[in-house]
């Protein structure tokens, strides 16, 4: 086959072949991406992020309650209710109440009464979650809404 012939006939064939290869490559890449999507769970059977924890009257004024299933501290302070997460922002261990504030058993992070880092490797203060009242007057915690340490719920 001469060069001229290859240009006129082979070129078209080569182009067709390259296009085909690109199409197959693209389809394979799409396949890989879709397969990766398979690994991401679409249904989670986890506890809901918004839940009631009972009537305000069951938490006496001045009390601190550790809701261990929810990994939350519920405070009933002088000016209202607020919740502080017990999940250490470092590596996810449960912090414990200490003389003044919180202590994490895993890597020794310490937090003050408001959850601010006092000492240790924790990179961020403990999360505060929004509290609200249900129509029936029960306390609702919303783990998807974090609030500042000035948050109080009067109930």
């Amino acid at each position: 086959m001469s060069d001229r012939e290859r240009d006129s006939t082979g070129g078209g064939r080569r182009e067709f072949f390259l296009t085909g290869c690109a199409a197959v490559g693209l389809a394979s890449a799409g396949f890989v991406v879709s397969t990766f999507r398979y690994l991401v769970p679409t249904v989670l059977y986890e506890p809901p992020a918004r839940f009631t924890i009972g009537s305000p009257s069951s938490f006496p004024p001045g009390s601190v309650t550790f809701l261990e299933d929810r990994r939350l501290f519920l405070f009933n302070g002088q000016d209202g209710f607020f919740t502080v997460s017990s999940v250490c922002t470092h590596l996810g261990c449960n912090v414990k109440r200490a003389a003044s504030g919180f202590e994490c058993p895993c890597h020794g992070s310490r937090f003050d009464e408001n959850g601010r880092v006092v000492h240790g490797p924790a990179p961020a203060p403990l999360a505060w979650y929004a509290l609200s009242l249900s129509p029936r007057g029960e306390l609702i915690v919303d783990l998807e809404r974090t609030v500042g340490p000035d948050f109080r719920l009067k109930a």
Partner: protein, 416 residues
């Protein structure tokens, strides 16, 4: 030998045996070579090996021991799978059953656990040996990379297996471990979500870790061990005496004349591929190499039995997401990292491990100086050995501190 009494039966039996074994029990040098080459299970080692390679003081048999441990882990793991239920809380109960009522269950579990720890340790020692003898140099660079990946897979196998008993130790070690992954920049949270199959460690996490531990990772390790050993064959064994080229079959280059094993073994007329080797320096793999390997395997299995009879694999209370034990520790091989994480999660959990892995992978392509290969602590490699030894020493000290000197709230305590 006197003529057999039933010649036709003997001949029939002999033929049947040949159909299974191809070569019978080898009695001549020719058969000793043939038996190695013509058997699927024996073809991985060469028919003849250099005496240098057989010296236990050179390799310490660490690669072999790692492979044996992987074999033990596969067998004991398969046995454990017959009773283990990968769903909480039955997972914990099934491990309790293995521990208390299943016949030989406690030995199998102990052996699996201690072999796993031993494998991490031995694979790490193997890496150190290969570094200290400079064995990762050309043409074995890529096999070093395969080895590093095998080390990472070994750690991944150990880590995924750690969660399966679903006790407090497992739960919190994996909590700490997966939260470290979440510190990876940009994709950290997504990686954690994928690993856990959700936001918190739960049934999905256990199932994912189980499948990774029992199927994906062992398959990957089995394939890579095969590649690793194959490349040892193809790239040549390190540690040939100074002066001779440690080349057996250079990748992509085939000897111009391909002599058969028969000619190599019988005529002593070296083909090009064996020219660099001194035939006088070599012995037949059968029996010299195989008997040694069998002895090592026997020793390892005996040692594992003794340890498994004497020491119980740890099993704490059932996992309780609401109660963090104090202190909560990762598996021992990650305690060096946890010690660093105690100072900074990003530095200890992401930066340092990433740097170490990248440095290990790039090492043979950066350190290209061809001198000092095949000897322990060659003086030509003083700088490289000093740097590596320092890193190993720091890692060891951090791991020891994390394991023995850290108590409640990760405060300093004395182990005595």
């Amino acid at each position: 030998m006197a003529s057999p009494r039933f010649p036709r039966t003997r001949a029939w039996l002999d033929e049947t045996a040949r159909s299974v074994w191809r070569i019978g029990w080898p009695r001549t040098d020719k058969d000793r070579a043939a038996v190695m080459i013509s058997s699927f299970f024996l073809h991985l080692p060469p028919a003849r090996v250099s005496r240098h390679v057989l010296r236990p003081s050179y390799t310490l048999g660490l690669g072999l021991i790692s492979a044996i441990l992987f074999g033990v882990l596969t067998v004991t793991g398969l046995a454990l799978m017959l009773y283990y239920v990968p769903h909480p809380p039955e997972a914990y109960r099934s491990v309790m059953d293995l521990q208390s009522v299943v016949t030989f269950g406690v030995i199998l579990r102990n052996m699996h656990r201690w072999s796993a720890h031993a494998m991490v340790f031995v694979v790490f020692l193997h890496l150190c040996r290969v570094f200290w003898t400079g064995s990762y140099k050309r043409p074995r660079e890529f096999n070093w990379v395969v080895g590093v990946v095998l080390l990472l897979l070994t750690l991944a196998l150990s880590f995924t297996g750690y969660l399966l008993p679903w006790d407090q130790l497992a739960f919190w070690a994996i909590t700490v471990g997966t939260n470290i992954a979440a510190y990876a920049p940009v994709v950290g949270d997504q990686v954690k979500f994928l690993l856990l199959g959700g936001h918190v460690i739960g049934p999905m996490t256990l199932l994912r870790f189980y499948v990774l531990h029992c199927v994906f990772l062992p398959l990957a390790v089995a394939v890579l061990i095969s590649v690793h050993v194959w490349r040892v064959r193809k790239d040549g064994l390190s540690g040939a005496p100074e002066g001779s080229k440690p080349v057996e079959e250079t990748a992509g280059v085939f000897p111009p004349s391909t002599k058969t094993w028969g000619l190599m073994a019988l005529t002593r007329r070296p083909t090009v591929s064996v020219e660099a080797r001194d035939p006088e320096d070599e012995v037949f793999a059968w029996p010299h190499l195989l008997y040694r390997e069998l002895l090592v395997a026997l020793g390892v299995v005996i040692a594992l039995h003794v340890v498994s009879l004497l020491f119980m694999a740890p099993l704490e209370e059932m996992a309780d997401p609401t109660r963090t034990p104090n202190p909560a520790k990762a598996p021992w091989y990650f305690l060096g990292l946890q010690e660093l994480v105690h100072y900074s999660a990003f530095v200890g959990g992401v930066l340092v491990p990433t740097l170490i892995v990248v440095a290990l992978l790039a090492l043979p392509y950066v350190d290209r100086h061809p001198r000092g290969v095949g000897r322990w602590f060659a003086p030509e490699r003083r700088v490289a050995n000093a740097i590596f030894t320092a890193v190993v020493a720091v890692a060891t000290v951090l791991t020891i501190i994390g394991t023995l000197f850290r108590g409640p709230n990760w405060a300093w305590t004395w182990p005595w």
